[in-house]
Symmetry: C2
Subunit: 108 residues, 2 copies
DNA sequence: ACATAATACTATATCACACGAGGTATTGTT
DNA sequence: AACAATACCTCGTGTGATATAGTATTATGT
């Protein structure tokens, strides 16, 4: 029941992981590890979904005899990240509602 | 608002809605409407779940001939809300990662 | 040389859950 | 009489996270 909020950020985190530089599955998992531990069986379906939604494109390349599929964010993917930043205001409104009356100074 | 993010906030929002004062299904839906639109078929299973998890208790009462089930938050429910506030630091770390490099001054 | 870990992707089965659609029943309004 | 609002509930469906298992190569340790 804990950390469910973070699950909602999965798609966006994956997009963020390839935002500046193309990356591949295995690397994305390791890059995101400090933020959210995500398993292969979680990531690959997400990548498929994001590809279907045309938020990223895929290109295969061989690296040391192993296949690698590099994922590249699309224009739509970048727009999705921008939209997320906007949506965050709504999320913060909810956060403020939930924590109303508490004197935690989370937001200065 | 993104359905995925919303999903992670549902349980916590319901707890927040009964935090200060006992409430009932129909009222909770209307109270939360400004923050998040939640349907009856979404809310009632959540209330059942929260009751099973002992984060709230239920008491039936008649009001103008109609049945009302009042939900009251438990100690564990209040602790859950506290835990959420703590988790938020991690969520903000994710947010900052996702929006890195953007000059939106969302957090002053 | 052999075993194990790390790299890298895929498929399948399962469980949780949000939500539309539909149901019951009373009170208030037009 | 008709309809909206109040107030509860259930079922079916689709989406999605994740465990488990499989395939295959390279690197590391013993």
């Amino acid at each position: 029941m804990d950390a469910q909020i973070k699950r909602g950020l999965l798609d966006i985190l994956v997009l963020a992981a390839i935002k500046d530089e193309d990356s591949y599955g295995y690397s994305i998992i390791k890059d995101l590890k400090p933020y959210l531990e995500i398993s292969e069986s979680t990531l690959y379906p997400i990548l498929k979904r994001l590809e279907a939604a045309e938020l990223l494109t895929v290109r295969s390349a061989e690296h040391n005899g192993r296949l690698r599929k590099y994922y590249k964010i699309t224009k739509a993917g970048l727009l999705r990240l921008d939209a997320f930043a906007d949506e965050w205001q709504e999320v913060m409104r909810i956060y403020n509602y939930v924590t109303r009356g508490e004197d935690k100074n989370d937001e200065a």
